[in-house]
Amino acid sequence: MKSIFINIREVAKRECNRMTSRSLYLLAILVFPVLTILFFGSLFKEGVPTKMPIAIVDLDQTTTSRIITRNIDVTPLSMVTMNLQSESEAMSQLRSGSIYGFVVLPKNMQADILSSKQPVVSYYYQNGLLIAGGLMQNDLTLILHTLSSAINIQKREAMGQPEDLIMAQVQPVQLNTHQLFNPTSNYSVYISTIVLPIMLQLFILLMTVYSIGIEIKERTSREWLQTSGKSIVTALTGKLLPYTVIFFILMMFQNFMMYRVMQVPVHTSAGWLMLSSLLFVLAYQAIGVFCIGLLPLMRHALNLSAFYGILALTLCGFSFPIEAMPPVFQYWASGFPVRHFMHIFQSQVLAGFELRYSILSYAFLLLFMLLPLTVIARLKSALIYQNFIERVHKS
């Protein structure tokens, strides 16, 4: 028993030496992950998009139209950057991408309002960019409805209705919106908290596959196995342990950035955060071992893990909800640890629900750790016989 620990220590020591021998290691376990965290932390600094450029086509040119223009300009989301003469001109600006939307105030608008002719105000927004389009739609709809109500109120005042009654008359049903269990409507919270683990899983997969694959490629696998006392389990444990520690520290750094620096609300203890982070790292290391065990030729294993890792962005349900996908992909989505990690984050960390609502996700993360067992024999024979080495033609 004691010798196993000594062997693990020896393999880990050997691995640490190997790590310092190539710049690739330093890049993948330190430089790139830290750059990623800084990138996503600073890209969405503002939390919600503001001052998106829009245009007004004011064909009316009256006090009313100018009031409307000013009111649109002061909303936090949009900023009137252009006053254009015609609808076609505005359409061309929209197509060229310099504005995200525009409002057309028709000719004789003021006169038509006064004579109760119900003028038509059209607004256009570009929906090719989903978030910008969605926000633009909400913003323009809301502000124009408010302005329409304001006119309604003025008219009623002119009719002599008592002021306190008017509001109830104009807007009999008010909608109050709340974000359930989450006080912030900050996009950076929703994007960074998911994208950062997705980026880190790419590095975990890459390093796991690479650190094992390079031993086969460069024919050092027998020596590695020798160091571990010819036990594949010891060999893998010793090799992956340094990475587990490094990636766990990176996960905790990420948590620190999110919950301390970016002020994402936490409703759970540090212990649970550490446990879920550790399980996340281990689950992906297990998948990495599975990839290289399945395809012991490194370039194929790297292709496989890259294909799988990049798909996580789609299948974790962050971009498009999983329940809305075809059923096949809903099952497939369970095959991504980041999906379960995201659920733990949403349910336990952000919303503060009791453990029983996320316990299943912890179980799934544990389940991934059984994966290497299915390929361990194949991997061991690949390490010994080195029969998966690609032949390099010297020319």
Partner: protein, 425 residues
């Protein structure tokens, strides 16, 4: 004079022949390497199909919500029915208390809650303002959007009806009441992707990114392999006939350009057609945008490829950059909210302008002149990266040449010995 002309034309002919040889040699290298074949062909062929199937439903409809009806009146029931009738929402549970609804939410059986207050019908009868609360799930942006769209529509419509009824009771005609309630008629015009489909939005952009990423990766992998294969680890082989910076860059570029032009027909022409994504761009427009994009991506890849010592380093760069580049392009986060630093970084990568330009052309129907900013930027990138590629390869050629010269000075036996062992001295 005549003599000199002959000399130049002979040189050009030799250069073209050299370029053609490198071009064909590059084809050979690509088609012999299974790993590269997977990246150049399998990824661009499979990803678009896979993404299209995953995002097949395109929009979130009939989001399951719970209604907490504290009013128990005809009005509140009608309100709930109207919520159910919207395309966005489906009322799957009616609960007595907020706690019950929360429990369903925690179990993820419902994705939103609408609470109708106890005083709902009384408020309406007494002409008081009543407040309905909507609780949204923030896990997915599209769920939030569906609940907001559906519930605010019903609240506005219900409000309008109440207002019109009240005004008619005061003696106005129906038309007068409607005009008073709605002094301005608002017309909502959605440009591009009117259904708000997710695939129509995301996939065309992803395709452009896939083109650049697989190009850079394939060029990088082949460069890494070349270094692994050549004695002395040089990027350029030591044969005299394969040297010459310009013909190397031109020959390799021609090989990738031909392959990717064909792939573009599939990715940008056939996929949007098959799955019904926007395809308002015409052929000239797409060619005007894609030619500088392919060229700049290839030159960019060639420039980067000189730093890859082996196959794996290219893969690492690919994994590191793919997702950040998606965000950097400005299709997720509005460009008007980028800090100046990231706007500069954005200009480094050909994909950013190409993605933006492609969405403009294909979904908004922008013309070439309306996309000129992107096209000009791409040509500038192509020019700059052509120069860097020439400098990088020029240095590699110089390296190989001087190594070759050193070797030639040695006696034959010693030379062969060194080549076999792959050591320089």
């Amino acid at each position: 004079m005549e003599n000199r002309n002959l000399k130049i034309s002979a040189q050009i002919r030799e250069g073209l022949a050299g370029m053609l040889r490198i071009w064909m040699r590059e084809f050979q290298l690509i088609f012999k390497d299974v790993g590269v074949m997977v990246i150049i062909f399998a990824v661009p062929l499979v990803y678009p199909l896979l993404y299209s199937f995953i995002y097949y439903p395109e929009v979130v409809s009939d989001l399951p919500i719970a209604v907490v009806d504290l009013s128990h009146s005809a009005e509140s029931r009608r309100f709930a029915r109207n919520l159910d009738a919207t395309p966005d929402l489906r009322v799957t549970a009616q609960t007595m208390t907020m706690n019950e609804a929360t429990e369903l939410f925690k179990k993820r059986e419902v994705r939103g809650i609408v609470e109708i207050p106890e005083t709902f019908s009384a408020d309406i009868a007494m002409k008081r303002q009543t407040t309905v609360s909507a609780y949204a799930d923030m896990e997915f942006f599209l769920y939030y959007k569906a609940l907001m769209t559906g519930s605010s529509f019903v609240a506005l419509e219900t409000g309008k009806q109440i207002q019109v009824t009240n005004l008619m009771n005061e003696g106005l005609t129906e038309r007068q009441a409607e005009v008073t309630a709605e002094p301005i008629r608002l017309v909502d015009n959605v440009m591009a992707n009117s259904a708000g489909g997710f695939a129509s939005y995301g996939i065309p952009a992803a395709l452009i990114l896939i083109i650049q990423q697989t190009l850079v990766l394939a060029i990088g992998i082949l460069a890494g392999t070349a270094r692994e294969r050549h004695p002395f680890g040089t990027l350029v082989p030591l044969y005299r006939k394969r040297m010459g910076t310009l013909r190397l860059v031109a020959g390799k570029t021609a090989a990738y350009f031909t392959i990717y032009s064909l792939l573009c027909i599939y990715m940008l022409g056939m996929i949007p057609q098959w799955f019904g994504y926007a395809h308002s761009a015409n052929l000239t427009g797409i060619m005007a945008l894609m030619s500088p994009f392919l060229l700049s991506s290839i030159f960019f890849g060639l420039t980067l490829s000189v730093v890859f010592k082996n196959r794996e380093s290219a893969m690492m760069l690919y994994l590191f950059t793919s997702i950040p580049l998606l965000f950097l392009s400005g299709i997720i986060w509005p460009l008007s909210n980028f800090s100046p630093v990231w706007l500069v970084v954005r200009e480094i990568f050909p994909s950013s302008n190409a993605m933006f330009g492609f969405i403009k052309m294909n979904s908004l129907g922008a013309s070439i002149s309306e996309t000129s900013r992107e096209i000009v930027s791409l040509w500038i990138q192509a020019g700059v990266y052509f120069l860097t590629a020439c400098i990088a390869y020029g240095y590699q050629v110089y390296n190989s040449e001087s190594l070759r010269m050193d070797l030639l000075k040695l006696p034959f036996r010693e030379m062969r010995n060194r080549v076999e062992r792959g050591v320089r001295s």
